[in-house]
C-alpha cells in the first residue's frame, strides 16, 4: 500500500545556551515552534496536530509536560502526542509525526523536542537508584567510557582520534549560530590538554548541558507544493530497540543500530552508504562515537571507522562530512539533540544550512540513539521527492 510522501517545510531552533533564564519552558518551546512556522510561512491554525518529545521528565521536574505546554504550542483543540524514547527521543518524535502524515491521518504536523536542563540537574535526574540494578556510574560518561575503551582495543585506533573529532565539531559549531559552544580559541592542543574525566574520555570530548528546543513542520505532497522554500523529503525512517543488558549485546556496535540503518537504506534505495549519502548528522555525545557509529552505520568496515576520521574524510570540506552543525558535542539539550540531528540533515538538503552548508548535499542521514546504546532512530532526507 502506498504511503503519503512526507516533506519538511519548516525548521526552527533556539540559540542553545547553558541556561535560558529569560524564558519559561513554555517560552522556550514557543520560540522554536514560531521559527519553524515562520520558515514554512504558516500560521498556528494551519497545524493539524502536535507531536512533542523530550528525555526524562525528571530533567525539568514536570510530569508529562505536554499537558502544561498545550497552550504554548497552539495545541488546544488538536491532537497532541508525547514521545519518550530516552536519548533517541528527538528522532523518534519526528518519526511519529512523520507517520501521521504518511498514514494520511493529518496533512500538516508540528513536531518539537526540547530540554531545559537548567531547571534541574541532569546528573541527579539520571542517578536515582532502584534496587537490584547497577547505578549509571557517574552519569552517562561513566557508562559509555568502557565501551569506547573496548572499541579502541578492538580496532587498534590510536588514542588521538577522539580529540580530532572534538576539535572538528567545535570548529564546525563556530559556523552554526544556534550552537551552544562557540569556542573561538579552540585548538587541537587545548582539547588534548583538557582534563581526563572518564578515561579515555577528556573534558573537551564530552557534550555540554544545554537549554534548547528544535521544531519542524512536516507536511504532505500538497503542503510541500505550497511551501515557500525548498522542502526536504523523507526517503526513509526507522526505529530499532534492543535490551539494555544481556550477554549477547555488542555495546561497541549494537545490532539495533545496524538493523535500523539497513531498514532506512532499504526504504531509500541506498546500496552503498559511503557513496550514496552526502553527509551525516549523527548522535556523538562523546567524541569517540564518531568512528564507532561510522562503522555501525555502514560507512566503514568494522575497525576502519577511525581511519575516515583521521584522514579528514569527516571534516566539513571532506568527502563525507559528519556533524556539520557542531553536533551533540557542541549542543546538547538532551531531549532535542536527536531532533536537531534530523533537522540539520533536512537543512542541508534544503540548502539552508548557511555557513556550515555542504555544497551539493542531496541525501543526508540524521541519526539518534539513546539508553545504553539501546534505542535507535534515523531518517534519510533528500532534496528531491522519493520515487513513486
Amino acid at each position: 500500500m502506498s504511503k503519503e510522501p512526507v516533506a519538511v517545510v519548516g525548521i526552527g531552533q533556539t540559540k542553545h545556551v547553558a541556561a535560558r533564564r529569560d524564558v519559561s519552558i513554555a517560552g522556550l518551546v514557543r520560540e522554536a515552534a514560531q521559527r519553524a512556522l515562520d520558515d514554512a510561512e504558516l500560521r498556528w491554525a494551519d497545524v493539524d496536530a502536535v507531536v512533542i518529545g523530550k528525555a526524562p521528565d525528571f530533567f525539568e521536574g514536570v510530569m508529562m509536560p505536554e499537558l502544561y505546554l498545550a497552550d504554548a504550542l497552539g495545541a488546544v483543540g488538536k491532537p497532541m502526542l508525547r514521545v519518550h524514547t530516552a536519548g533517541s527521543v528527538g528522532g523518534s518524535t519526528a518519526l511519529v509525526a512523520a507517520n501521521l502524515v504518511a498514514a494520511r491521518v493529518h496533512g500538516t504536523v508540528l513536531t518539537l523536542a526540547f530540554e531545559k536542563q537548567s531547571e534541574s540537574n541532569a546528573m541527579w535526574g539520571l542517578s536515582l537508584p532502584i534496587p537490584f540494578q547497577q547505578p549509571l556510574l557517574a552519569g552517562a560518561g561513566g557508562f559509555f567510557a568502557p565501551h569506547v575503551r573496548a572499541y579502541m582495543r578492538r580496532s587498534g585506533a590510536p588514542d588521538t582520534v577522539g580529540s580530532l573529532v572534538a576539535y572538528k565539531d567545535r570548529r564546525n559549531a563556530l559556523k552554526n549560530p544556534y550552537a551552544h559552544l562557540h569556542e573561538h580559541d579552540i585548538t587541537l592542543e587545548k582539547v588534548q590538554a583538557s582534563p581526563m574525566l572518564w578515561d579515555p574520555i577528556r573534558y573537551s570530548e564530552t557534550c555540554p548541558s544545554s537549554d534548547g528546543a528544535c521544531a519542524m513542520i512536516l507536511t504532505d505532497r500538497a503542503g510541500a507544493a505550497r511551501a515557500p522554500r525548498p522542502p526536504a523529503w523523507m526517503h526513509g525512517g526507522a526505529m530499532r530497540s534492543e535490551p539494555t543488558l544481556f550477554a549477547g549485546k555488542d555495546a561497541v556496535s549494537p545490532q539495533a543500530g545496524k538493523d535500523c540503518a539497513a531498514d532506512v537504506y532499504r526504504q531509500a534505495g541506498i546500496a552503498d552508504p559511503r557513496r550514496d549519502i552526502d553527509a551525516v548528522e549523527m548522535y556523538v555525545p562523546f567524541s569517540w562515537y564518531e568512528p564507532m557509529w561510522l562503522e555501525n552505520l555502514g560507512f566503514a568496515a568494522e575497525g576502519e571507522g577511525w581511519k575516515l576520521t583521521e584522514s579528514g574524510v569527516t571534516e566539513l570540506d571532506g568527502d563525507l562530512p559528519v556533524n556539520m552543525s557542531g553536533g551533540v558535542l557542541s549542543t546538547n539539550p538532551i531531549g532535542a539533540s536527536g531532533m536537531i540531528r534530523f533537522a540539520e540533515a533536512a537543512l542541508q538538503v534544503r540548502g539552508q544550512a548557511g555557513e556550515h552548508q555542504v555544497e551539493g548535499a542531496r541525501r543526508v542521514l540524521g541519526h539518534a540513539y539513546g539508553g545504553g546504546s539501546q534505542f535507535f532512530s534515523m531518517w534519510l532526507v533528500g532534496s528531491r521527492p522519493p520515487d513513486s
Partner: protein
C-alpha cells in the same frame, strides 16, 4: 483506509500494592497472555509501543527496563509514549495505517503504590504558577464536581448512584481492585466521598492489533477500529468550562462515534462526576451499557487505565456481547486530554 482490529487483550489483577514485583515482573505475565491468545511470538510482531510514566516509578528512563521483559532480541521496531497506553495504541494504529507493519503489540503499566499518587500528580501542573501550591488530583476533581452540582447537572445522590453501579458491575470483573457493594464512604474532598474516587493501585495491560486478513486469522471476531482520535484542551482550569468536555466531543466526532449508536461505552472516568461530563459530551443515553467492567472506579492503574478501557470494549466484541462499542481514555487534570475509539465486530 486500511482495516485494523484489536485481536487480543490481557490485564493483570489490579492491586493496592505490588511490593513483591518489579514493573517488569508485573508486566511479563500480561505480555505472555496476550501473545498466547494469538499464537504470536515477539519476533512475529511488526511494531511495539508502550505507555508509562517515570514519575510513578520515581526514576528516569524506567521504561527501558520493561523492554527486557518484551524480549527485544533480535532488535525490534519499538517506541514509547510518556502517556497512558491508549495513546501508545494510537501511535501503533498510525504505524499500521502506513503499511509498515501488519501487527502491533501495545502495552502499558503503572505502579502507584510506591509513592503518594495525589502528590505525584500535582507535578503535572504548570510548574511556575500552580504546581508550587500542590493542589492534588482529588481536590481538582472536587472543583469539577462542585461546578457540575452548581450548574444543576448532577447532585450527590446521583453521584452515589454512579459509584454503586460501577462497583456492582465490577463484581463480575475478576481483575478489578474494588468489587461488589462498597459504602459510598466519608467525604474525601467535598463534595466527593471515597466512593466517588478511584482506588489507588498497580497494574498492567497489553493488546495486540492486526491489519486486514491478519486480524481475521488471529481472532474469531476481531474488534475493528472504525475510528480513533484524541484532543487536548487548555491546561489552566480557569479558562475551561469544567462542566463540559469539548475535546471529548470533538474526538468522538472525528472518530465517527456519532454516525451510528453504540451499545457499549467504556469511559475512563476516575471520578463519578467525570462520568456525568463524559456522558453528556458523548451523548450517551440509558440505552448504552456504560462501564460494564466497573470502570476506573473499580481499578485505576495510572497509565494503563485508558488502554484497559479500549481492551475491555474490544473484549466485549470478541465475546459477542457488543457489536459497536465506544472506548475513552483521559489524561491530565479534570479531563484535559481525551481519546475516543470506536470499535465494531463483523455483523452476525
Amino acid at each position: 483506509m486500511r482495516d485494523i482490529a484489536l485481536v487480543a487483550f490481557a490485564q493483570t489483577d489490579h492491586r493496592r500494592t505490588s511490593d513483591e514485583h518489579s514493573e517488569v515482573e508485573m508486566l511479563m505475565p500480561v505480555l505472555h497472555q496476550v501473545l498466547d491468545r494469538t499464537g504470536l511470538k515477539t519476533a512475529d510482531i511488526g511494531f511495539t509501543c508502550s505507555g508509562s510514566s517515570d514519575y510513578l516509578a520515581g526514576r528516569a528512563f524506567s521504561f527501558t527496563l520493561a523492554l527486557d521483559g518484551v524480549g527485544a532480541w533480535p532488535p525490534i521496531s519499538e517506541s514509547h509514549v510518556e502517556m497512558d497506553g491508549a495513546w501508545a495504541l494510537y501511535e501503533a494504529w498510525t504505524k499500521l495505517l502506513t503499511g509498515d507493519a501488519d501487527t502491533a503489540l501495545v502495552y502499558a503499566y503503572g505502579k502507584s503504590s510506591p509513592g503518594s499518587v495525589r502528590d505525584v500528580l500535582t507535578r503535572q501542573l504548570d510548574p511556575y504558577y500552580v504546581a508550587p501550591l500542590w493542589p492534588d488530583s482529588v481536590a481538582l476533581a472536587a472543583l469539577q464536581a462542585q461546578a457540575l452540582i452548581d450548574a444543576g447537572h448532577t447532585d450527590e445522590p446521583a453521584l452515589a448512584g454512579v459509584a454503586a453501579r460501577s462497583r456492582r458491575d465490577a463484581a463480575d470483573n475478576s481483575h478489578a481492585q474494588l468489587r461488589g457493594s462498597i459504602p459510598h464512604g466519608d467525604y474525601l474532598v467535598r463534595p466527593l466521598r471515597t466512593g466517588d474516587c478511584p482506588p489507588i493501585g498497580d497494574g498492567a495491560a497489553a493488546v495486540i492489533l492486526a491489519a486486514g486478513d491478519r486480524a481475521r486469522e488471529l481472532c474469531e471476531r476481531p474488534a475493528w477500529i472504525r475510528g480513533t482520535d484524541h484532543r487536548i484542551e487548555a491546561h489552566g482550569l480557569g479558562v475551561r468550562d469544567l462542566t463540559d468536555s469539548p475535546s471529548t466531543r470533538l474526538a468522538a466526532e472525528k472518530a465517527g462515534a456519532f454516525e451510528r449508536p453504540v451499545d457499549t461505552a467504556e469511559l475512563h472516568a476516575p471520578f463519578t462526576s467525570q462520568e456525568v461530563v463524559l456522558r453528556k459530551a458523548l451523548r450517551l443515553d440509558d440505552s448504552v451499557r456504560v462501564n460494564p467492567s466497573g470502570g476506573a472506579l473499580a481499578a485505576n492503574p495510572i497509565m494503563a487505565a485508558g488502554l484497559i478501557r479500549i481492551g475491555e470494549a474490544a473484549a466485549r466484541i470478541h465475546r459477542g456481547e457488543s457489536d459497536r462499542a465506544l472506548a475513552h481514555a483521559t489524561s491530565g487534570p479534570c479531563l484535559q486530554q481525551n481519546l475516543v475509539a470506536v470499535l465494531e465486530g463483523d455483523p452476525r
